[in-house]
């Protein structure tokens, strides 16, 4: 079956125009073949005698299939019957060759890319990029792993296998003191979770704390330095007292519901030199006297900076108060420490023109802010809570 077009794969023999025994010469039309493009007459290129038809009429055969056997003149003269191999098809069609699977010489496997070995240096263990990344993430020494990849390279699968086989790592000994790196990881996790889960709303309120300053100045005048009260203690107490009246800001949001806390444990945000932050609790802050509160704060700051916090202090806070102090800015907007539902921020005390009894006076003013969890409270309640703190700070002697 000749190829009658580059894309022809098969043809149907529909008519023979010769019969066995006929002599044919080059250019004779010997058959008709039906193709995609219609019936086409087939010429013969090989002179000789038709010996035998090899394909039945109306059968569809692949291109290259011999259709008939032609004995050439030379062969006709030979005594021996023509061997099949010498016969020619009507057109010198390519011999039918087994399909690719057999025809293609399976290529020799390409040798694995030789692994570079630095002369004079201990050969570097070949490991795939994915294996290296995984090993680094998991803190694994690649030299301990056998490779199964190309050229014996370590693959990520080898690392995974090694990880699975390794005994669960012994509890690492916790170094005494603060691990700032670990603290940073914890802060990252808590703050990311907070911003992801908690719909924060923010309120701010400016209050005149001149009464506090006057009262503190009078009270501290006669006391030794370690007995003096700082304005931070007043602020903390005011928050603790106010929150007892607004219990929706005091407690935890867990499992899709708010659990109010009867006790008021105020978390005190403490910055740690070297970069760190923690907010351990002052237990029952609403019930402590100002002096006890002040000494409690001093103790907490000292122990925190020495890395000696108590576990209850770390897990207990029911609300957090953050103050950036004298070196801070006027207002801070905190991120709620989950599962708490509120954080109160105190900016630094600044002197501002203020209207008192119809006249403008320089007064000491502080901006207090509230970040509230909108799943638990609304801005209205938050505003009343902030206003209550401000009101309490107008009468420090009652705190």
């Amino acid at each position: 079956m000749p190829s009658l077009g580059a894309d022809m794969e098969t043809g149907t023999l529909v008519e023979w125009l010769v019969k066995p025994g006929d002599f044919v010469k080059r250019g004779d039309i010997v058959a008709v073949v039906e193709t995609q493009k219609g019936a086409i007459e087939i010429e013969v290129y090989q002179p000789g005698q038709i010996v035998q038809f090899l394909v039945d009429l109306h059968s569809k055969v692949p291109v290259g299939t011999p259709l008939a056997l032609i004995r050439t003149e030379g062969e006709a003269k030979a005594a021996a019957p023509p061997p099949l191999a010498a016969a020619a098809a009507p057109m010198p069609a390519p011999p039918v060759i087994p399909q690719p699977a057999a025809a293609v010489m399976p290529p020799p496997a390409r040798p694995p890319v030789p692994l570079p070995a630095a002369a004079g240096v201990a050969a570097r263990k070949a490991a795939s990029p994915a294996a290296r990344r995984l090993a680094e993430e998991r803190g694994i020494d690649l030299s301990a792993i056998a490779g199964s990849g190309p050229g014996g390279a370590i693959t990520s699968t080898d690392v995974e296998r090694h990880l699975a086989a390794a005994a669960p790592p012994a509890e690492a000994k916790r170094p005494l003191g603060l691990d700032l790196a670990a603290m940073r990881v914890a802060i990252a996790a808590a703050m990311a979770r907070s911003k992801r889960d908690i719909p924060h709303y923010y309120l701010q309120h400016q209050i005149d704390v001149t009464p506090c300053e006057h009262w503190l100045a009078a009270r501290n005048a006669t006391l030794p330095p370690d007995g003096r009260l700082l304005i931070g203690a007043l602020a903390l107490k005011a928050v603790a007292v106010a929150i007892a009246r607004f219990p929706a800001f005091n407690g935890f949001y867990r499992d899709n519901k708010f659990e109010p806390s009867a006790a008021v444990h105020v978390g005190v945000a403490i910055a740690i030199r070297g970069g760190g932050l923690t907010a351990p609790a002052l237990h029952d802050a609403d019930k402590l006297s100002l002096d006890d509160l002040m000494s409690g704060m001093r103790d907490l700051v000292q122990r925190t900076r020495a890395g000696r916090m108590r576990s209850s202090e770390m897990t207990d806070p029911t609300i957090t108060v953050s103050s950036l102090g004298e070196r801070g800015v006027e207002a801070l907007y905190g991120i709620i420490y989950p599962p708490q539902v509120a954080i109160v921020g105190f900016g630094k005390v600044v002197t501002r023109p203020w209207v008192v009894d119809g006249a403008i006076e320089p007064r000491s003013v502080v901006t207090i802010t509230l970040a509230g969890d909108h799943r638990v409270t609304d801005g209205h309640a938050g505003a009343l809570f902030l206003a209550e703190i401000g009101k309490l700070l107008q009468e420090p002697e009652k705190l």
């Binding site: 077009g5 580059a6 894309d7 995609q36 390519p94 290529p107 795939s128 990849g149 190309p150």
Partner: protein, 335 residues
């Protein structure tokens, strides 16, 4: 002439018939569309793709051209600039080289050179690939060259669905689109819904899901690659087969998603290895997914020889399923 009846029941047809159905559809739907090329009319197309279209649509819309690829491709560019939607058939990629100046210097640049005053909404179809014993001058796979050119899109439909659906989408493009039809695909047959229509031309598609190695390919090599994947499965290796479909632009996202998952990649490309599209894909994987790799990227390309005429040598020169199997196993470190 087969009547297209509405409905979704599948019909059996060949790739050739799918391309023809796409042409008929485009000619019927848009009066601006016409087909122009060597032997597309009276002869019915070198590969019989346009068989019957002259009788149906007439000589104004099915235009036989002289043997002058540069001339009629240029005419197609002009017609496209003037508002028509020409489909130029360059009989094969081998002859497209005579039109390369028109494609590269005109079609791909006119929008830029005219300051966006003119576009060339032209579709150029051509056959590509080896495997039919047409010898060294008529067996090229140069689609990778065309994929080098900014300003055009290059498509490689490998399935009946894409043969049927890519043309109409290509005709909606404001700029030139080249469609490469592998010569070994014209006779493949299968089922397609009677109302099969336009398909996207900007996404690669995962034709077979697997977890162990990504086999990235296109066009005529897709079927060899799927055959290799079946052979690999028998040996417990699950290969994922990615059909690029679009050679320019390349769908990096789909490629990297697959490689990121399997961590092993083999690119199968009928072009010659040096400077091939496979080289570009391999480099992109290095740029974008290096840290996901567990082995060097493998390539199965054509041997760097003029494609031989004898069938056994031609077969040996081209990517074939056994070579793909070997390359996939090498990437996995298995002999």
């Amino acid at each position: 002439m087969q009547q297209e009846l509405p409905g979704t029941d599948p019909i059996e047809l060949t790739y050739r018939e799918a391309v023809r159905a796409a042409l008929r559809d485009a000619l019927a739907r848009d009066k601006r569309v016409f087909l122009m090329g060597e032997d597309v009319g009276r002869y019915g197309g070198c590969y019989a793709v346009s068989h019957g279209l002259l009788a149906e649509f007439g000589p104004e819309r099915i235009r036989d051209t002289p043997l002058s690829e540069s001339g009629f491709t240029g005419a197609g560019i002009g017609a496209a600039m003037a508002g028509m939607r020409p489909i130029v058939e360059l009989m094969t990629v081998n002859f497209s080289l005579l039109a390369l100046d028109q494609i590269l210097n005109s079609a791909a640049t006119v929008r830029h050179m005219s300051g966006n005053q003119f576009g060339v909404p032209l579709v150029i179809r051509m056959a590509t690939g080896a495997g039919r014993q047409l010898a060294a001058q008529h067996s090229h796979s140069l689609e990778g060259w065309y994929a080098h050119i900014p300003g055009i899109k290059v498509l490689a439909p490998a399935t009946l669905e894409d043969a049927r659906g890519m043309l109409w989408t290509a005709l909606q493009e404001p700029d030139p689109v080249l469609i490469f039809e592998n010569v070994m695909l014209y006779n493949i047959s299968g089922k397609l819904p009677r109302d099969a229509g336009a398909v996207s031309i900007d996404k690669a598609v995962v034709r077979r899901w697997g977890s162990d190695v990504s086999l990235i390919t296109y066009g005529g090599s897709l079927w060899k690659t799927l055959e290799a994947a079946t052979a690999l499965a028998a040996e417990g290796i699950e290969a994922e087969v990615v059909d690029l479909r679009s050679l320019r632009p390349l769908d990096d996202v789909t490629i990297m998603a697959s490689v990121g998952k399997t961590r092993h990649a083999v690119v199968v490309d009928e072009g010659w290895r040096s400077g091939s599209l496979a080289a570009e894909i391999g480099m992109r994987i290095i740029e974008q997914a290096f840290w996901s790799l567990d082995a060097p990227i493998g390539r199965v390309c054509s041997e760097e020889v003029p494609i031989p005429y004898p069938r056994h040598l031609e077969n040996a020169a081209l990517p074939q399923a056994p070579k793909i199997v070997t390359a996939a196993k090498a990437a996995l470190g298995r002999a």
